[in-house]
């Protein structure tokens, strides 16, 4: 046998599936796009398909058709979307498929199925897609047009600081449709420099949910770290403040505080020392230990 033939045989056998444990990506594509296979088989095949999905226009169109087809089971369509998204991660290999992929995502972003809509909008939002941003904003301004719940829309809009969502997010903080939407609106506003006063107010409001106050502390650290340190100090000196919020303040001062100023702040050091010795939560004690050890106590 010639060397050439040997090499060809070796190569062919290497691609051959062994005992059904492996199959070629071509075979996986075939199963994934076949309506005759079971849902479970197709979903499993979709997970193997990304390597082949952009190899030929026929395969790509077959996969996009599965995604578009409202008659297909939702699990299969979602698996097709995942498979395409995984393939798109290889930007250079996916070059020839990208424009059909994005156009299809825009199409299914308005699908009757909410899971399909949410996933498609999520992928488009990750691309900072203008179409997705427009639809998400329209849904926040007019609930009848909403393609996803407000909290999801806000989360997706927060992927792009330039998405012109600050104004609508502020409105939602003012009149939240639900607690989740308020939380996501605040997370989005954490990148808005003009919202620092809002976060100061929420941070000091003892009637607010702990989570909201913690988000506010984190946002304030990003927008105006000096102000957070001032508030953190005052809150640590406040006997009526909650333990877990004080723990957050201690962490902020330990990690980001002005070492020189904090190290000389006897009132603050004494207060932390005293509280950590009393009946406080373990979380607070842990934060206090780190704080005090940093400043030599």
């Amino acid at each position: 046998m010639s060397t050439k033939k040997k090499a060809a045989k070796t190569s062919k056998s290497a691609r051959k599936p062994k005992g059904g444990a492996m199959r070629s990506t071509r075979a996986a594509m075939s199963v994934a796009t076949s309506a005759r296979s079971t849902v479970k088989e197709r979903v499993a095949a979709m997970a193997e398909a990304p390597l082949a999905v952009c190899e030929s226009d026929k395969d790509l169109q077959a996969m996009l058709n599965v995604l578009r087809n409202k008659e297909e089971p939702v699990e299969v369509r979602l698996a097709a979307m995942d498979s395409l998204a995984t393939a798109a991660f290889s930007v250079i290999k996916f070059e020839s498929c990208r424009n059909d992929y994005i156009a299809t995502l825009r199409e299914v972003a308005q699908d009757p199925d909410p899971k399909i809509r949410e996933s498609a909008l999520g992928l488009l939002a990750g691309e900072k897609d203008g179409f997705a941003q427009k639809k998400l904003l329209e849904g926040l301004q007019n609930r009848e047009k909403a393609l996803v719940p407000p909290e999801k829309a806000l989360q997706l809009l927060s992927y792009d600081v330039h998405a012109e969502a600050y104004s609508v997010a502020r409105d939602i903080v003012e009149k939240p449709p639900n607690a989740d939407a308020k939380r996501e609106a605040l997370r989005l506003l954490a990148a808005d420099a003009t919202s620092a006063p809002l976060f100061e107010k929420l941070l000091r409001d003892k009637d607010e949910l702990r989570e909201i106050r913690q988000i506010s502390a984190s946002a304030l650290h990003g927008l105006n770290p000096g102000k957070l340190q001032r508030h953190a100090r005052e809150m640590l000196l406040d006997n009526s403040e909650y333990d877990d919020i004080q723990a957050t303040c201690l962490t902020a001062l330990t990690q980001f505080g002005d070492d020189e100023a904090v190290g000389k702040d006897e009132a603050l050091l004494k207060s932390v020392d005293r509280f950590s010795a009393g009946k406080t939560s373990s979380k607070y004690k842990q934060s206090a230990r780190r704080f005090l050890s940093k400043y030599g106590r």
């Binding site: 203008g130 330039h162 990148a191 808005d192 003009t194």
Partner: protein, 531 residues
């Protein structure tokens, strides 16, 4: 009739209607260019995606109405630095409505192709604000390939690159290969132009420039912003007057949340390279540099410091990253910054770099397209030399954005050459002087007395010219002018005056003139277009 300069349309459909009306009216088409200015009131408080839709619609209107020289810079800017599929596709289409193809466009088209090919997506030009949601429509890559086909043989310099697009395995979509073939065929088609390849490959059409200079006498004072307060990368406060007065400065604008790597990130990286060039010339102490953020509310000292550090920027007392803490609007007005905002966040900006003179006045600006680091350094050195050099300036009208573009004529080379001429042909004795006077009498100059003291004075002026050319050569790194002037002086002083070779005088004057002009022009190149 609505005035575009002050138009205040509320909604996007109103804006689209305004653009359509301008495009349809031959007498108002030029006003479309005004709508491409980033700082236009119409873009105030619009988000980035809205701004993209609006600018894209203007570019498409230009594609229908025709791109003028004034609009061309905006179209090329989008190709040079654009990363949005819709805008790049619209700009590529608009370029094809320029009156004639030009080889200078090909590098812009190829650069756009490189920038956008991995972000290619379908776009719809059917109606305002439409997005492609099916496989119909066009795409930036398709539009760029069509523009290459329009350029035809003028894009010959890009032929190999275009051909390689076809050869790449797994590269462009098969659907686009027909567009590639069409472009290659058109580029190879020698019948489309009379003399393919004769037009200059890298110069823009006349009248188009991304660089503007202001003559010394026409510069606007910096008084309105002298009290503007900045905070630097270390958190130290400093006013405009304190940092920018007393020495020339190079200023660039950026913001850390800019998501176009071809703009802010590249600008700040280039500033770092400028600093290295200044260091290499020993000028880092004489010329200050500053990168000022457009987004001072978010770009706190730690952020701008990190941004600069990551891009290799030197940061010390003379070279700072700055955020405005007071007087941001005055700063915007003074520099006429090409930027607009939604709340405090930038929605769109152009590339802009400025050279300030020792009084803090704008001496030159480089805008929209990428600037060359060496060019900026050379021009700043010219500004640094302004105090020592005698200069006269001639001001010519520039584009609407800039009150004047300048042409500088350096006087010292002329004096130097005249001095050389005087020394070379100076009468050696009263009899020679009488001979000259008999010739002068024709021009009525026979009353000039014999002045033997004039010769050493002319030699002194010649030597001053020599020193001046040497200094300029050292600063610009181009010594060829100095060598020519030295050879000229050698010919005049030693060969002509010392050994009495009369022909040496003519050669000496010619060499001095050539060297002086070369020296003067080497610095002047900084104010010319490179792109």
């Amino acid at each position: 009739m609505q005035n575009v300069a002050t138009a205040s349309v509320q909604s996007e459909p109103q804006f689209a209607a305004l653009v359509d009306a301008l495009a349809a009216d031959p007498n108002r088409r030029e006003q479309l260019t005004e709508l491409l200015r980033e700082d236009h009131l119409l873009y105030d408080q619009r988000g980035s995606a809205t701004t993209v839709r609006m600018r894209g619609w203007v570019l498409l209107a230009l594609a229908r109405a025709g791109v003028s020289d004034a609009a061309l810079l905006f179209v090329l800017e989008e190709l040079d630095t654009g990363v949005d599929a819709y805008l790049v596709a619209a700009a590529a289409r608009a370029l094809r409505s320029y009156p004639s193809p030009n080889a200078a466009f090909a590098p812009f088209v190829m650069r756009a192709l490189t920038n956008i090919r991995y972000h290619d997506e379908l776009v719809s030009f059917e109606g305002y604000g439409e997005y492609a949601i099916s496989s119909t429509g066009t795409s930036p890559v398709r539009e760029l390939l069509a523009t290459l086909a329009w350029l035809g043989p003028h894009a010959r310099g890009a032929l190999r690159e275009v051909e390689s697009l076809r050869a790449q395995r797994g590269g462009l979509s098969k659907k686009l290969l027909i567009d590639v073939d069409r472009a290659v065929e058109a580029i190879r088609d020698a019948d489309q132009v009379d003399e393919p390849g004769t037009d200059t490959c890298c110069t823009l059409p006349s009248g188009l420039s991304n660089t503007f200079s202001w003559a010394l006498s026409s510069r606007r004072g910096s008084e309105p912003i002298e009290s503007t307060v900045f905070e630097d990368h270390e958190g130290a406060s400093i006013t405009f007057k304190e940092f920018f007065r007393g020495h020339p400065s190079i200023v660039v604008f950026f913001y850390t949340r800019c998501d176009n790597a071809l703009k802010c990130s590249l600008t700040v990286t280039k500033l770092a390279r400028v600093q290295k060039l200044l260091e290499a010339r020993g000028l880092a102490d004489q010329i200050h540099t500053a990168a000022i953020t457009y987004d001072p509310a978010f770009d706190l000292p730690a952020r701008i410091r990190g941004y600069g550090q990551n891009r290799g920027v030197r940061m010390d007392d003379r070279h700072r990253m700055l955020r405005t803490t007071d007087g941001v609007n005055a700063l915007r007005r003074h520099f006429k910054l090409g930027v607009n905002f939604i709340e405090s966040l930038v929605n769109r900006h152009r590339i802009e770099a400025y050279i300030l003179d020792a009084e803090g006045r704008i001496a030159a600006c480089f805008e929209r397209m990428h600037w060359d680091e060496q060019q900026v350094v050379d021009r700043t050195i010219e500004v640094l030399q302004e105090k020592s050099d005698e200069t006269t300036s001639e001001v010519s009208p520039g584009p609407a954005d800039c009150p004047a573009r300048h042409k500088t004529k350096t006087v010292s080379p002329i004096f130097g050459t005249l001095a050389s001429l005087g020394v070379a042909f100076f009468p050696k004795c009263p009899i020679c002087w009488a001979g000259y006077l008999s010739v002068f009498s024709i021009a009525g100059l026979n009353q000039i007395p014999y002045s033997p003291w004039l010769q050493p004075m002319l030699v002194a002026v010649m030597l001053i010219n020599l020193a001046s050319v040497w200094l300029r050569g050292r600063l610009t790194g181009r010594m060829s002018g100095f060598y020519l002037v030295s050879a000229g002086a050698f010919a005049i002083v030693l060969l002509n005056m010392g050994l009495g070779w009369e022909n040496a005088a003519v050669w000496g004057v010619a060499l001095t003139l050539a060297g002086s002009l070369m020296s003067a022009l080497s610095g002047k190149n900084a104010s010319q277009v490179v792109e």
